[in-house]
């Protein structure tokens, strides 16, 4: 908690979502979402499964299309224009529950692929950047292995490094530790904490409440496609306002 004072939040707006709605067929998954994220904010989104939290962050980099409302990322309005979408995606990094590394490429190639092809970085420079970030996530010695040879925790750290190689201004995490063994969760969370301390804007869907307490400056609780409650972590955990939040917290913190 003492780190929080070191982490600064600027006034600059990184993401602005206004009145956003999304349907899967006739099912209304996201309803009237309003969310403003300042640069440097670390937001944890939690909620029961099916509450739309993953869908929400997947809308931010247009992996899911929203049908109504406005999403503005770094000043670029998300529309169906492919140019805009690719631009936003190259500025927004994302880590998935199942890592989604490219199994036919080595760890190093996984990390250099996007810088080389999207940013047009020369290969040598891209490899230097990749090694820098692989060192940061503490697995430079695995650079020439294939993803299939690494443990789950290592793979997720590679996935984080792969996103960082694009030098994103915003990172999205979609349940990054849900598919991991308990022993590996810590190594991934440590990496994410380090990232947060460096001032990265982060949106993280997770059930790791310890992580939320330690690094988040805001916790958002979602249920049935709506934002039910949001607050600073201390207030959120110690003094939840809505009944739904109280029930949820009692269930996940109950044992």
């Amino acid at each position: 908690m003492n780190q929080q004072s070191q982490m600064t939040v600027s006034d600059e707006v990184a993401i602005e979502i206004t009145n956003m709605n999304k349907w899967y067929g006739t099912f209304h998954v996201l309803r009237d979402i309003d969310l403003t994220v300042q640069r440097g904010e670390r937001i944890v989104i939690c909620g029961p499964s099916g509450s739309g939290k993953s869908t929400l962050i997947r809308c931010i980099n247009a992996l899911e299309e929203h049908q109504k409302g406005k999403i503005e990322v770094d000043g670029t309005v998300l529309s169906s224009d492919l140019k805009n979408i690719d631009k936003i995606r190259s500025e927004v990094g994302m880590c998935f529950q199942h890592f989604n590394l490219f199994p036919h490429l080595t760890i190093l190639e996984n990390c250099t692929l996007a810088p080389i092809w999207v940013r047009k970085t020369p290969k040598k420079e891209a490899e230097e950047i990749a090694m820098h970030f692989l060192e940061k996530v503490k697995i430079p010695d695995q650079a020439n292995k294939y993803p299939g040879q690494l443990s789950g925790g290592q793979q997720q750290r590679v996935a984080i490094a792969r996103s960082l190689c694009m030098k994103p201004r915003i990172m999205l995490f979609d349940e990054p530790t849900s598919a991991l063994d308990p022993e590996m969760i810590k190594e991934v969370l440590d990496t994410m904490i380090e990232l947060a301390e460096e001032g990265m804007t982060m949106l993280c869907v997770t059930h790791e409440m310890g992580f939320a307490r330690q690094v988040a400056n805001r916790v958002i609780f979602m249920d049935a496609g709506q934002i039910v409650e949001q607050n600073e972590p201390e207030e959120f955990f110690n003094n939840p306002k809505s009944e739904r939040t109280q029930l949820f917290l009692s269930q996940i913190l109950g044992h």
Binding site: F96, N100, P103, L113, Y146, G148, S163
Partner: protein, 514 residues
């Protein structure tokens, strides 16, 4: 016993050291016992199998061993054998050239075929083995033009000019899509848009006139004719009404794409290719040939034959149908309904028709649809049909590979900002094709064997050669086992090599190491 229940606490103080697995009883006796005589039923099966193999060997070995290699006819063979069980391999010696090259290919040109096969191995090597230097791929790209010249003869300048025009087309594509500034591209897009729009409007106008002509010649006598008359007139009116709006729409769409340059560069390079091949190709290669004649005696397509024809059709059709199949498979997954629809209809239609029907279409029917003066090479028609046929199958195999990829791979590629072309080329296809290797090889081997079907449309491939000129000759009239066995051996060698290569490739591409 009773003590242990009261004392559950246990702490391991030292690690158990790893040890070697127990010695498995091994050796030949053990193997024979396990694999041949492991039970009463298996023992009986083994004995029966031994008996069958022995009977077969007792017949076949003398047949090979006594085989006659030097005789002028089957009658002579039988005289030499004098009642002994033996093969008449003399037919292979006597008709070797016919079996391999066909009976009309000029013998003084056989070296050309042999050279192109040797070069084929060189050209295929860098494509098949990624450990070889990538620069060799330039030769692979050049090989088809060289092989065309070697096999068909004529002037070397014809394939070279074709190659040159293809390179020019690609350069124009690159120039317009990425080299010139947006302002210049805007001008180009305007010009191309006007040309294409006007051209399309003109074509639609001509089409409308044709439709009116057809309607009038159908007339209005009888119900069917009247309905047809009405339908043709409605189509004609549509064409008349929409020719100018369609031209404007398409022309504007091309102009409007000037910013990212995708559409305008494709249309411009296609337009260039069409004009170049219609008006530049013949004058250029003829002029070059007049200045520096490099010629081989020309051989007509109908003179190709023997196993060479099977190899020719097999190699060309496989190498054309894989890229076409990939495009069809990607097209079938496209979110754009028009592209998807065209691909689905094409694949389903081709898969619903037997290859032999398509070959008959190539042989006979196409002549009805093409203008009478057009001289469309028979081999070319057959290549097109076989390629389309196997491309449809390969497309379905690759679609299976695409479907087997986890959705996360697409999402990861998207989330890194890769565009569709990059994601497809770098992430999706390498994995999908790897999954599809067994299926693609299956189609390729099947296609290679199906090339023998051309014997039915009176082309003298290996089978056509055996069924026709060899067995109909007075000398070799009832020789079956030797010639068909030889044919089977040739096909087996090629198909087995392909299959072994594919298994090796699968092992090479396996990165899971589990």
């Amino acid at each position: 016993m009773s003590d242990s229940t009261s004392n559950v606490a246990f702490v391991r103080t030292e690690q158990i050291p790893p040890s070697a697995p127990p010695m498995a009883a091994s050796g030949p006796v053990k193997w024979v016992k396990d694999n041949l005589f492991s039970g009463v039923f298996n023992t009986i099966l083994t004995l029966v199998a031994f008996y069958v193999v022995a009977r077969f060997a007792v017949f076949v070995f003398p047949w090979f061993y006594n085989g006659v290699w030097d005789a002028a006819s089957r009658k002579e063979c039988l005289e030499i054998l004098d009642g002994v069980n033996g093969a008449c391999f003399a037919v292979l010696v006597d008709r070797w050239d016919h079996l391999v090259f066909g009976f009309k290919y000029p013998p003084e040109g056989y070296w050309r075929i042999i050279l192109s096969v040797v070069l084929l191995l060189v050209a295929a090597a860098p494509a098949l083995f990624s450990s070889l230097p990538r620069k060799l791929l330039f030769f692979t790209a050049f090989y088809p033009f060289l092989a065309f010249w070697l096999v068909w003869g004529g002037s070397l300048w014809l394939p070279l000019t074709i190659l040159g025009l293809i390179i020019a087309t690609l350069l124009i594509f690159r120039l317009i899509s990425s080299e010139i500034s947006v302002d210049v591209r805007k001008l180009v897009a305007g010009a191309i848009g006007v040309i294409c729009g006007a051209g399309l409007a003109y074509l639609l106008f001509i089409g409308a006139q044709e439709l009116v002509f057809i309607a009038n010649s159908v007339g209005t006598e009888g119900l069917v004719s009247t309905v047809a008359y009405g339908v043709f007139w409605i189509m004609a009116i549509f064409a008349y009404v929409f020719c100018i709006p369609m031209g404007i729409f398409v022309g504007y769409a091309i102009f409007n794409s000037f910013e990212d340059g995708g559409l305008v560069s494709i249309v411009a390079s296609l337009l260039f290719a069409y004009l170049a091949f219609s008006f530049l190709l013949a004058p250029i290669w003829m002029a070059l040939n007049a200045v520096a004649p490099i010629e081989l005696p020309a051989v007509a397509s109908r003179d190709m034959g023997g196993f060479m024809l099977n190899m020719l059709l097999g190699t060309i059709c496989v190498s054309l149908s894989i890229p076409l199949g990939i495009l069809l498979a990607l097209g079938r997954q496209s979110p754009m309904p028009l592209i998807k629809g065209v691909c689905v209809v094409f694949i389903e239609f081709i898969r619903g028709v037997p290859l032999i029907t398509l070959l008959f279409v190539a042989n006979v029917m196409l002549a009805y649809f093409l203008p009478p003066e057009s001289n469309f090479d028979l081999i070319l028609r057959v290549i097109i049909m076989i390629t389309l046929f196997s491309a449809a199958y390969i497309a379905e195999v690759i679609r299976g590979g695409l479907a087997a990829l986890p959705k996360g791979q697409y999402e990861a590629a998207d989330s890194l900002g890769l565009d569709y072309a990059q994601a497809t080329r770098l992430i999706i296809l390498p994995q999908a094709l790897k999954i599809s290797i067994p299926g693609i090889v299956n189609v390729a081997v099947g296609l290679f064997k199906d090339t023998t079907l051309v014997s039915i449309i009176s082309m003298f491939d290996l089978v056509g050669m055996i069924r026709g000129p060899i067995q109909n000759s007075t000398e070799w009239t009832s020789v079956y086992w030797e010639v068909y066995g030889f044919g089977a051996l040739l096909f087996f060698v090629v198909c087995y090599s392909i299959s072994q290569y594919s298994q090796w490739l699968e092992r090479q591409l396996n990165t899971s190491h589990h």
